[in-house]
Subunit: 336 residues, 2 copies
């Protein structure tokens, strides 16, 4: 049982990558945990989340969120259980969601934690389909794109954490879903597990040609997780007054890439492109959970995740996640 002499392991950010991150950018470090003060809680993480957006925080400079500080543990969403507590709202063994990052044990202010209901769903689902990931997909389709029944929706990085939820929600709304991913296994997952209407491997075929075949009448909505050539292809296939949810740009996280040559299609087709950061939409969490929890419990939404075991796996998994053709399907989490 941990006490004041407890040690914790954390993954510490040591240097800012140029281009793709590499193992030398981080270090696994053992630290002493402090004694609990009033209002503090000791948590043992069970799972933490590996997310593409973290690449942006590795860069210096002003952004929507502070850059990762050098010499500190990498932040990120995690779920775990209370071990010791000096706050009445967080009794021992309660499951909590936190954003204190890539650690096994940590001490936090109670205000940094949120209790989750592990009787409703597996705890790791609160990082994925019931967490910020799922909320991103839900808000993007409902509040930003405002999808309607029978519309044709293209989703890139569709086998990823956000994409795999977006595919399922769009299908449940009665949309026709065209999905892309970067490996044959992911395409098979999209077709067989998520039962999208059409899925293609963007690395082995021309996205423009694939979209023309899959959506001969054009796209009402594009849920963009990649930017790059798939955005350019989608712009060429949008219907008039189509909507593009700008959610991710994984094709350019490691290195800046030219923008689409055909951005003038935004004028010609009177498109709306809108940027989405889930942090703006946290007030929608109750409405989101009210819909998602029953869907998940009824088996109408699949909670797809790839679980890797051991905190030391995190850096390699993150590096891989940013590569085209990465093998992880669904939400990527580390089991501590």
């Amino acid at each position: 049982m941990p006490n004041s002499k407890l040690q914790a392991k954390e993954i510490r950010f040591m240097s800012r990558p140029r281009g793709g991150p590499s193992p030398e950018n981080v270090a696994v470090v053992t630290v002493d945990l402090p004694d609990l003060q009033p209002g503090e809680v000791l948590v043992r993480n069970s799972f933490f989340s590996i997310d593409p957006y973290m690449r942006g925080r590795m860069n210096e400079g002003k952004s929507y969120i502070l850059p990762f500080a050098l010499g500190k543990a990498l932040d990120g969403a995690a779920v775990g259980q209370v071990v010791q507590s000096r706050d009445a709202g967080f009794p021992p063994s309660a499951w909590v969601l936190s954003f204190c990052g890539w650690r096994d044990y940590f001490v936090a202010q109670a205000s940094q934690l949120r209790v989750i209901d592990a009787t409703q769903a597996p705890p790791s689902a609160y990082l994925g389909v019931l967490g910020a990931t799922g909320l991103t997909a839900w808000v993007g389709l409902n509040d930003v794109a405002k999808i309607k029944q029978n519309e044709t929706v293209f989703i890139s990085a569709a086998a990823g954490a956000v994409g795999s939820v977006a595919c399922q929600l769009a299908k449940l709304r009665g949309c026709q879903v065209v999905a892309s991913a970067g490996s044959a296994a992911k395409v098979a997952f999209l077709k067989n597990q998520l039962q999208v209407d059409c899925a293609f491997n963007y690395r082995e075929s021309d996205p423009l040609r694939q979209l023309e075949i899959a959506a001969p009448d054009g796209l009402h909505v594009y849920f963009d997780n990649t930017a790059g050539p798939q955005l350019e292809a989608a712009l060429a296939c949008m219907r008039n007054h189509g909507r593009i949810v700008m959610c991710g740009a994984i094709s350019s996280y490691n290195a800046p890439a030219p923008g689409p040559q055909n951005l003038h299609q935004v004028i010609i087709r009177r498109l709306r492109l809108q940027g989405l950061l889930v942090a703006d939409h946290l007030h929608r969490m109750p409405a989101f959970l009210a819909e998602m929890v029953p869907l998940l419990r009824a088996g109408k939404v699949l909670h797809q995740e790839t679980v890797l075991h051991g905190i030391e796996k995190a850096p390699g998994a993150f590096i891989s996640l940013l590569q085209p053709g990465d093998a992880h399907i669904g939400k990527l989490v580390i089991q501590v």
Copy 2:
């Protein structure tokens, strides 16, 4: 007085340009006009409009509007007077707006004409500040960008037809206006006549640096008439939740250009980019005129136009209009 043997001059589209249009792409042709049939009207044009969007119609292929047909007169907005009429709604000497293009005389169905009130404003104003041009600026600011008092608005091609109206309307709404253009004379016009808060020559200084100086707290709205480097600079200076009206892309009409390298700012800053074609907004014309006519008559909005005399001037003026640093200020019209 013209009769059934009347001849008319028209500017006919002869070949599709590759890159910038050249004089050989058109021909000035004399044609016989037909006898008037019931419901037809003979019009003598006084002014016709030269617009950058026409470059797009010179290309083949599907777009929001049919491409110009080879061997036919170039279409475009014009104002003129009824000479002979076989429709009671269009008595001789009535002023009419039409879209029958670059001709001196023409015969049209009455349904192709709209009577304008030349007692309210000079007839050519119905091509500019009171026409589709002005409506574009008004809809872009009000309905698309939804500008609010005290916001900072950047307008490119600001000395052009749409830009010069947008600058004035944004000032009247209590916005701070940053304006760009491609010559010293235009910058002087923006500062002295339109009294914008800041104007710069995008060809002689770095747009990004200029925007950083002019709007240190960032841009709420960018009214984009150019795309290209000015769009890239604006993306780098937008405030969170800023709006970009995608109205024109004159920097790329003659040749495709790469898109902005920093389009991911749309996500980071949660921007909304929205394409605008005035044809979607013609139902707003009454509300627009109800506001604009009094403003114009009270001298609160300047009707800035460059008038060239003689139908033969049209091709050269159009070619020039698409060049960086073109000298025309405000709406460009040909007086027939």
